[in-house]
């Protein structure tokens, strides 16, 4: 007689918190877009990742592939330019996997942001606030050029493992959740990893899917995490030709939709989530107007609580 295994209620234990990245829930919106016949809007809740954002996926994959092929090891420190969600993701994953981590960020990043990264033991290097995120990119490239043996530079804007994390993760999860029935996919462009990788994966798993990127309409905008391509260093992983279209999103519209998501759907998400849903709604409206039916999927990169609240307390700029 074989021994009876105890019944398990809930999940099995995992070896490290890093194994909890991904497998995020897909939620149907009940009010936003409800008036559109035959079109359903779904949102992928990336804020459910352990670090609170979509960036846990590419950060984990870039780090684990580098550990596996020896580009990252005991003698090296991970360094990249990021002040936002990727920085938080690198910092906690490095702590969990026992890797040293340094982040280059513009000095005007909120004190709260700096403290989050430091809480995970990351070392911070500051760049010129007026040069923005591109200034941080240039500074990290200089650091790496000076001491190439000291650093592992994942380069989230140029690393194919960034979109790959979405192709093998996000896209597969979406296709499985909807039994391959995905008419359209919409996502904001920061590094473009989410939109490029998920689109690639979905094209294989949900034939006929149309994929759209959402881009801020203004160069100085309030959609944190997104990049205005015309005024920025264009990420090497970005290839506009692979997409079916690009939606230009004014900050005000993204903000208004973020608020609506809170009030009408119970989702308190960041402004880039608002922009993504506003873009998805445009696609859904076009489909409905053309008499098409189907599921429109987008991504909610993070929660609202990361944003302006902490910034308000930084009365004096600390250069």
């Amino acid at each position: 007689m074989t021994a009876l295994r105890p019944l398990r209620h809930g999940a099995a234990p995992v070896e490290t918190v890093a194994r909890l990245v991904g497998s995020t829930p897909l939620v149907r919106l009940r009010r936003i877009g409800a008036e559109l016949p035959g079109v359903r809007l779904y949102v992928k809740c990336e804020f459910m990742n352990p670090g609170g954002s979509v960036k846990d996926r590419p950060a984990l994959r870039m780090i684990e592939t580098a550990l596996r092929d020896g580009r990252l090891g005991p003698g090296r420190t991970l360094v990249d330019s990021t002040s936002g969600n990727t920085g938080v993701a690198y910092a906690w994953i490095c702590a969990a996997l026992g890797v040293r981590c340094a982040l280059v960020m513009p000095r005007n990043v909120s004190a709260a942001r700096k403290r989050i990264a430091q809480a995970f033991g990351a070392e911070l290097v500051f760049s010129d606030p007026l040069e923005g995120s591109d200034g941080a990119i240039r500074q990290v490239r200089e650091l790496v050029a000076q001491e190439p043996d000291r650093w592992f530079y994942p380069d989230q804007y140029g690393n194919p493992e960034n979109p790959r994390a979405h192709e093998l993760g996000t896209a597969v999860e979406i296709a499985e959740a909807l039994d391959g029935q995905v008419a359209a996919f919409v996502a904001g462009i920061g590094t473009s990893g989410t939109v490029m990788g998920t689109s690639r994966g979905l094209r294989a798993l949900a034939p006929g899917v149309r994929c759209h990127a959402v881009e801020p309409a203004e160069p100085l905008h309030g959609l944190e995490g997104l990049k205005h391509m015309e005024s920025s260093i264009v990420p090497a992983i970005y290839d506009e030709a692979e997409l079916d279209g690009k939606i230009s999103m004014p900050t005000a519209e993204g903000w208004a939709m973020a608020e609506r998501l809170g009030r009408e759907e119970g989702l308190r998400v960041g402004h880039s989530s608002g922009a993504a849903v506003a873009g998805a709604l445009q696609v859904a409206e076009r489909m409905a107007a053309a008499g098409e039916r189907g599921n429109v999927v987008t991504v909610l990169p993070d929660r609202a609580d990361r944003y302006f609240e902490p910034r308000r307390w930084d009365r004096r700029i600390t250069w």
Binding site: S81, T82, S83, G84, N85, T86, M105, P106, N108, V109, S110, R113, P129, L130, E131, G132, S133, D134, G135, Q156, Y157, G190, T191, E218, P219, L220, H221, G222, L223, E224, G225, L226, K227, H228, S231, S232, T251, F308, R311, R312, D314, R315, R316, I317, W319
Partner: protein, 91 residues
């Protein structure tokens, strides 16, 4: 004495290719208006239709956030420096 307005690099294109501008004005709003008057594309990047600063653009007057003072009505001392910084960090 004129004051200095420093813009973030992403706005250089809207401001004649320069990020550092000499300007005049008794308040932050007037200084911004002075420079925006020279570069028509710049104004709508810094102020909304009502002439107020966007919440995602922060103005520091000699290193102090004007939202904790009188906003665009904050008086500007001679030789002051106003720095415009995006409120957001990105990526």
């Amino acid at each position: 004495m004129p004051v200095t307005l420093r813009l973030p690099a992403v706005l250089a294109k809207a401001a004649g290719g320069k990020t550092v501008h000499e300007a005049r004005g008794a308040t932050v709003g007037e200084v911004v208006g002075d420079v925006a008057g020279r570069f028509p594309e710049l104004g709508p990047r810094l102020r909304d239709a009502k002439g107020e600063p966007y919440p995602y653009v922060i103005f520091y007057l000699d290193d102090e956030d004007i939202r904790f003072q009188q906003g665009f009505a904050t008086p500007v001392p001679d030789g002051a420096e106003i720095v415009v910084v995006p409120a957001i960090a990105g990526g």
